[in-house]
């Protein structure tokens, strides 16, 4: 990490936070519909992981707006997708949960819990066969690490020593069910230990996430096969906007919010990287401007033509 990179990560974290609040506001106004899973509270994890794993293929979950933007997808294209507009990154056909941009090696946006993990395994197999330099990173939550797709994937990735980084975002909630009630232990890395090397990190600290992903990437490059990284995070909002978050106590929430990754990383920038208040204000302003522009763009973007309904069912006409 260096100062410039730290500032870039901070920019995307602020962008992410403000973007998610803007998405929520527009959901309340009826501009965004369907399911909307906000990443508020987990920005350090989402941004630092993407910035550390800067090349290679990404397979993510339905809580992926911030990751997509950190990967280089324009906030305008993401917000327009949330609005269901033709200029959206998926042409308005995917929505919040299905952001795809193969030119950025970003493959969703998968709304079947754990469903993207076998896809990442297959892609890692392809990369190994092709002798590619960059591997694959798959992001999933602690809810997915109780499912069959996850265990099958550990087994296959380890058998073939695939260049695959399993990144588990452990926020302790599978939708609304606490991990104590769905798994025998909190640390999901224990499930991966028989198959591969595992690393754990405080997912609320961007610099720690960054360094850990870099370390995992190095291990993969050195031929250790797949690596499992577990990041402990805290989701500030409900599972989706329609979840009132009633299953978590006020005390738990205040404990959670005391770990705000933006507050922590801002302190890092000021103290470790000697950024000035003015520098940070400029970054914050720039991020807010990008969000404002994204919302304005999405509002003015066009409704898909109804003819688009039958476009892209298949590649080839017969």
């Amino acid at each position: 990490m260096n100062k410039l990179l730290a500032q870039e990560i901070y920019y995307f974290m602020v962008l992410g936070r403000n973007f998610e609040y803007a998405a929520k506001e527009n959901y309340m106004q009826g501009n965004v519909s369907g399911f909307l899973h906000l990443d508020i509270g987990q920005e350090a994890f989402s941004v630092a992981a993407m910035k550390a794993f800067e090349k290679g293929d990404i397979f993510a979950t339905y809580r992926e707006h911030v990751m997509a933007m950190a990967r280089g997808i324009e906030p305008k294209a993401v917000m327009a997708e949330l609005f269901g507009k033709a200029e959206g990154v998926s042409g308005g056909k995917g929505g919040s949960m299905h952001l795809f941009e193969p030119s950025r090696f970003f493959y969703g946006g998968d709304a079947i819990v754990g469903g993207q993990i076998p896809n990442a395994v297959g892609c890692a197999y392809a990369r190994k066969l092709q002798g590619a330099e960059d591997g694959v990173m798959v992001i999933f939550g602690d809810g997915a690490s109780n499912g069959g797709a996850f265990f099958e994937s550990l087994n296959i990735a380890a058998t073939h020593k695939l260049p695959l980084l399993f990144l588990c975002e452990n926020n302790e909630y599978a939708i609304g069910t606490n991990i104590k009630r769905s798994a025998p232990f909190r640390e999901q890395a224990k499930k991966a230990e028989p198959y591969m090397m595992t690393l754990s990190v405080d997912g609320m600290k961007a610099e720690a996430v960054y360094e850990t992903i870099k370390e995992a990437q190095k291990l993969i490059e050195d031929g250790h096969g797949p690596i499992f990284v577990e990041a402990f995070t805290c989701r500030f909002e409900g599972h989706s906007v329609s979840d009132a978050n009633s299953y978590r106590s006020t005390q738990e929430m205040s404990h959670c919010k005391a770990k705000d990754p933006l507050v922590h990383f801002k302190k890092e920038l000021l103290e470790r990287w000697m950024c000035s208040d003015k520098e940070l204000q400029e970054i914050e302003q720039k991020a807010q401007t990008a969000v404002d522009e994204a919302v304005a763009f999405a509002k003015n973007a066009t409704e898909p033509n109804v003819a688009a309904l039958f476009e892209h069912v298949f590649v080839e006409e017969v």
């Binding site: 998926s90 056909k93 469903g115 896809n119 297959g122 892609c123 197999y125 092709q130 797709a149 892209h312």
Partner: protein, 325 residues
Amino acid sequence: MLYREALNKALDEVMAIDDTVVTLGEDVGLYGGSFRVTEGLVEKYGEERVIDTPIAELSIVGNAVGMAIGGLRPVAEIMTGNFSLLAFDQIINHMAKLHYMSNGKVILPMVVRFPQGVSKQLAAQHSESYEQMLCSVPGLRVLSVCDVNYAYHALKYAILSNDPFVFIEHELLYNKKGEVNFEEQLDPFKARIVKEGEDITIISYLKMVDDVMQSVPAIESALNCSCEVIDLCSLNPIDYETLAASIKKTSRLVMVEEDHKTGGFGSQVVAWAAEEMFYELDAAPLRLAGADVSIPYNRTLELASIPTPDSIAQEIIAWGRKNDV
């Protein structure tokens, strides 16, 4: 050439010209495939391209999807149709949807080979047919293979296409003999007229086409008529044009299939005929299909659960007499 040899040759030829083609599945490598379709390929192309997988169907299809995203052309083999149910999340939610959900950005050139159907006393969990479910999912091309020549050409086409294909084979056809015309430019989406006739159009697919052909002499002699037999070949899309031309000629329609009658694939064909061909028909269509029961082990009960050449002949003759054929 045998049906399984035609499939093997198609795979072999495509693997030889395109090194992005890989095949994966349970026992496809060293064992040579449960139906010997992949025999000899691992020796030629190595274990990296002929991949023995764990018995984990969700991953077989799920990994194939990821391989296709990563620039390969995977041909996944499901050992038998019933096992595919463990992979249906990947088939429906991923294989069929990623291209559309991404507005065309993600392309999945892949094939899932799908042996299925009533074989011989394999009982309820190894005998079922799933084309009705697969064909109700937009985004999947679904081909069904009865003919040896079609097997060769259609498999090559599916592997080299940029769309996701489910390629349905029938477990009792692997040792069927036939000729392959290697020079032919075959359109895999066109129905095959197996036998021309004037009075009854009999539509079928997979092994039932052969059973229908066995029943035809008895039907033609009893009713003093001639039957036109059509093999659908492609189940998605359906070649309605060929079906319509035949029905216009014969004015009578029989649909024969092996899967369960309720919600079976043939209901789509007959529903189409009711909507589009009603005034061309001189009689209500006849549907012959499997009974609405799980397939039993006992041979007598097993044969009673699906159409056979004898039962097809009997039912069509009775229907023909009632309808003045």
